[in-house]
Amino acid sequence: MDEILEILEKDGRASLEDIAKLLKKKPEDVRKSIKKYEKEGAILKYKAVINRELVKDAEAEVRALIEVNLTPQKDLGFDRVAERIYSFPEVSSCYLVSGTYDLLIIVSGKDIQTVARFIAEKLSPMEHVKGVVTHFLLKKYKEDGVILKQQEDNKRIAISY
C-alpha cells in the first residue's frame, strides 16, 4: 500500500508538509496523490475516534450487534435487501458473513427502547428477513485497531547508550 495511505490511516491529521518530509516527496505531489485517492474513493473520509465514555456530555448510546437471516432473492442475492437495511441511519455497520446467518449489522440508538423499536418495527417485519438475533454491547475494549483504554506512558529511561 502507498505509504501516504499508511500514514493517514494511523493519523488522518498528518499534514502535507510532514508527510512530504517523512517520505522525501514534494508537498505538492503528496497533495495530488491524496486528492486522487479522495476522488477515487480510496480515502472515504477523515474522522476522530472518540471514546464516548470519557465525554461528559455525550448522549447515552446503546449499541447492538444483530445477526440477520435472509431469504436470498433471485438474481439479486442479498444485495437488494442489504441495501434496504443499511440505508437506515440507525445501522452503523453492515457485513455479509458466512456461517449460520447472513448479515451482521451494528445498530445504535439512544436507549434500549429505541434499538428494540427499530428491530421490532423496521427490521424484523421487512420482506425477506427470516429472523434476527440481537446482542446488546456491554463494553468496548478495542475498535478498529484502537484500544479504548489510555495507554500507560513509555517507561524508557530518558537517556542510554
Binding site: I7, L22, N154, I159, Y161
Partner: protein, 386 residues
C-alpha cells in the same frame, strides 16, 4: 576504602558523561532524543509467549547454551536470512544480549597485552571490556573518512600484537553501515593479518539503503568471525536481555565455559519469548523498519534545514549531526540545550574523544516528540550558528 577497588576497575568510569546523564535523569519534562532503545514495546505475540511460558511453569534453568528449541529456530532463521550455516549444537550460544557476548569473546581469546582494534566513535562498552579482559584497545579513528573504516587506515593500525577487531554495523552512534563490497575489502586485510573479527550486528534489521551483509558470509570469513547479535533492537526486546553468539566451535565451546560459571543460562522466559520472535516477529520488524525510515528522512532533512549539517545514516536509529557551526563543544552544546530547551541528546564525546563536534540524536521517538524537539533545537540555535 583505599586499595579495595581493583585499579583497572577504578580507572574505568567515563567521568564527564555520567554527570551529564544524571543531570538529564534529574530533570522533568525533558524531551529525550538520547535513548538508545526502540520506542516500541515488544510486539504482543512475543510478550504473550513469555507470559504463557510462566503460566505453564517454565521457570527452571535451561541448558547452558540455551534451549535446544531456540537454537534450532535460530539455525533455520540464519540459514534462511543470510544463508549462514551454524551447528545448533556446537557453534551457537544464547547470551544475555550482545553485551555478554562481547565480554565472553574478549575474555576467551585475549592474553594480557593483546591488542583489539576498536573503530571509533563506537558503542561505549568495547574499550572498557577489552581492558578488563587484559587487552589493549587500539582506537581507529574513522572521522576523516565519513565515519567509515578504510582498508588502508586499518592496515596502518595492525601489528604483531593485534588479536581482534570489533566491528559494529550499522554503527551506534553514527548510523553508518557498510555495503558488501566495502566489507569484502576490510575482510581481505583482516584475513591477511589473521585478525579475529568480532561483529556486533545488533542493528542488522535496521539497514535502510541496501541489504545488510552478515560478516560471516564474506569469503573465508566464517572461520575467523564471532558473530554477535540479539533480539533487543530488531524486536524491541531490550529489557529481555537476550542475544546470541555464533562462531567456530572451539571459540564457542570456550565461551560456553565462562558462560556456564558466570551466567549459567539466559532466563528461560526470555528464551521462550525469543522463540516466538523468530517465528512470528517478521511482520512487526518490517513495520518498525518502515516507521524508522520515515523518521530518518524527517529528522535528517530537518536537522540540515535548521543548520546542523547531518549526513544520511544508513542504519540503526541514530542521526549524528555536526554541531561545529555553533562553536561549542559537544558537551557544552548538550548541556546548554538541556538547560535552555529541555531537549536531551548524547554528546558525541560519550562515544570517544574523536567524536568531538558531534551529537547523537536518536529518532526512536514519536513523530510528535521529534517535531517538538527539533523546534526547540531550532530556537536554541538562533544566534548561535555562525
Amino acid at each position: 576504602m583505599k586499595n579495595i577497588i581493583a585499579k583497572k576497575v577504578e580507572q574505568m568510569q567515563p567521568s564527564g558523561i555520567r554527570a551529564f546523564f544524571d543531570l538529564v535523569l534529574g530533570m522533568k519534562d525533558v524531551i529525550s532524543l538520547g535513548v538508545g532503545e526502540p520506542d516500541f514495546v515488544t510486539p504482543w505475540p512475543i510478550r504473550e509467549a513469555g507470559i504463557f511460558s510462566l503460566e505453564h511453569g517454565f521457570t527452571s534453568y535451561t541448558s547452558n547454551k540455551g534451549l535446544v528449541k531456540l537454537r534450532l529456530s535460530l539455525k533455520h532463521f540464519l540459514k534462511h536470512k543470510y544463508g549462514l550455516e551454524y551447528s545448533a549444537d556446537e557453534e551457537m550460544l544464547i547470551t544475555v544480549g550482545v553485551s555478554e557476548g562481547v565480554d565472553l569473546v574478549l575474555r576467551t581469546i585475549l592474553e594480557n597485552g593483546d591488542k583489539v582494534i576498536i573503530p571509533v566513535p563506537s558503542y561505549v562498552s568495547y574499550g572498557p571490556v577489552t581492558e578488563l579482559a587484559g587487552g589493549i584497545p587500539v582506537y581507529l579513528n574513522t572521522k576523516e573518512h565519513d565515519f567509515k573504516i578504510t582498508p588502508s587506515e586499518l592496515e596502518k593500525v595492525i601489528d604483531k600484537k593485534t588479536k581482534a577487531i570489533i566491528l559494529n554495523y550499522p554503527t551506534n552512534p553514527t548510523g553508518v553501515s557498510y555495503t558488501r563490497r566495502e566489507l569484502e575489502a576490510i575482510n581481505k586485510v583482516l584475513l591477511k593479518h589473521k585478525v579475529i573479527v568480532i561483529t556486533d550486528e545488533c542493528y542488522d534489521e535496521l539497514t535502510y539503503d541496501f541489504a545488510h551483509t552478515a560478516f560471516a558470509t564474506l569469503s573465508g570469513a566464517k572461520e575467523n568471525t564471532v558473530y554477535l547479535n540479539g533480539f533487543s533492537k530488531s524486536y524491541a526486546m531490550t529489557g529481555w536481555r537476550i542475544g546470541w553468539a555464533c562462531g567456530p566451535k572451539e571459540i564457542i565451546a570456550a565461551m560456553t565455559k565462562i558462560h556456564q560459571y558466570t551466567i549459567m543460562c539466559v532466563p528461560i522466559t526470555s528464551q521462550m519469548a525469543a522463540c516466538e520472535a523468530l517465528v512470528s516477529g517478521k511482520k512487526a520488524v518490517e513495520e518498525m523498519k518502515r516507521e524508522y525510515i520515515r523518521r530518518r528522512e524527517f529528522v535528517v532533512s530537518e536537522l540540515n534545514r535548521i543548520g546542523l549539517i547531518c549526513f544520511m545514516p544508513e542504519g540503526a536509529f541514530y542521526a549524528f549531526p555536526s554541531i561545529k557551526r555553533s562553536g561549542m563543544s559537544s558537551m557544552e552544546f548538550s548541556q546548554a540545550l538541556l538547560k535552555e530547551q529541555k531537549v536531551a541528546v548524547v554528546p558525541g564525546t560519550a562515544f570517544g574523544a574523536s567524536a568531538e563536534g558531534y551529537i547523537r540524536i536518536s529518532y526512536a521517538s514519536s513523530l510528535e516528540n521529534l517535531k517538538e524537539a527539533l523546534n526547540r533545537i531550532e530556537k536554541f540555535l538562533k544566534g548561535r550558528i555562525k
